[in-house]
């Protein structure tokens, strides 16, 4: 039973437009959420995170929104650039579990020039 779900396996966006990646979770014990970016043949690299006490966190072109009542988070990338093309993983943790991460299955983002 997947506790973190990314229902869109792929997304294509035009350069300069907004990319919106979505993630849903089922475990109400999760209190910290992260987005990772992964290029082929590389490991996931941290992008941005949000604590459950917040509903928005922004870092440059990247913003993560958290809706706890809906158990939903999203990553917005504005403006999208071709170098953003990668697989994006949503992850969640329970601060009481030694930061073990539960990942979604990833969304392949392709930004078209």
């Amino acid at each position: 039973d997947q506790q973190v779900k990314q229902n869109s396996p792929s997304l294509s966006v035009q350069e300069g437009r907004i990319s919106i990646l979505n993630c849903d979770y089922t475990n109400s014990m999760f209190d910290y959420f992260l987005w990772y970016k992964k290029y082929p043949a590389e490991g996931p690299t941290f992008l941005i995170s949000i604590s459950s006490i917040k509903d928005k966190n922004e870092d440059g072109r990247f913003t993560v929104f958290l809706n706890k009542s809906a158990k939903h988070l999203s990553l917005h990338i504005v403006p999208s650039q071709p170098g953003d093309s990668a697989v994006y993983f949503c992850a969640a943790s329970n601060s009481g579990s030694a930061r073990q991460l539960t990942f979604g299955s990833g969304t392949q983002l392709t930004v078209l020039p």
């Binding site: 990772y36 043949a41 996931p44 690299t45 579990s97 030694a98 930061r99 073990q100 990942f103 299955s105």
Partner: protein, 112 residues
């Protein structure tokens, strides 16, 4: 600062053989994790070391998998005997307490 190093980067073995994956974490990182991604699905937790002790091995699939971290430095993950369903990408990550993860590039294991 060197990152998390994993080797081999690729391994192709026959069903029934043994394979050992190695991970060198960032120096000073007490926390070391193994994760696995199978068939393009989610990245799944396998186990967590704190120094040389296994903190949590609840994600290990079965007793064909054995992880060690002697001396609290590098770690090995042995699969013996390997089965077809063990194919996937095995990621190692290390973390200093209070800070975030750094992942290695992974070992792509193919069992034929």
């Amino acid at each position: 600062e060197a990152g998390v190093t994993q080797f081999p980067s690729h391994s192709v073995i026959e069903k029934g053989q043994t394979v050992t994956l190695r991970c060198d974490p960032i120096s000073g990182h007490d926390n070391l994790y193994w994760y696995r991604r199978v068939m393009g699905k989610e990245i799944k937790f396998l186990l967590h070391f704190v120094k040389e002790s296994k903190q949590d091995e609840s994600g290990m699939p079965n007793n064909r998998f054995l992880a060690e971290r002697t001396g609290g430095t590098y770690s090995t993950l042995k699969v013996q005997p390997a089965e077809l369903e063990d194919s996937g990408v095995y990621f190692c990550a290390s973390r200093q307490s209070g800070y975030g993860y750094t992942f290695g590039s992974g070992t792509r294991l193919t069992v034929v």
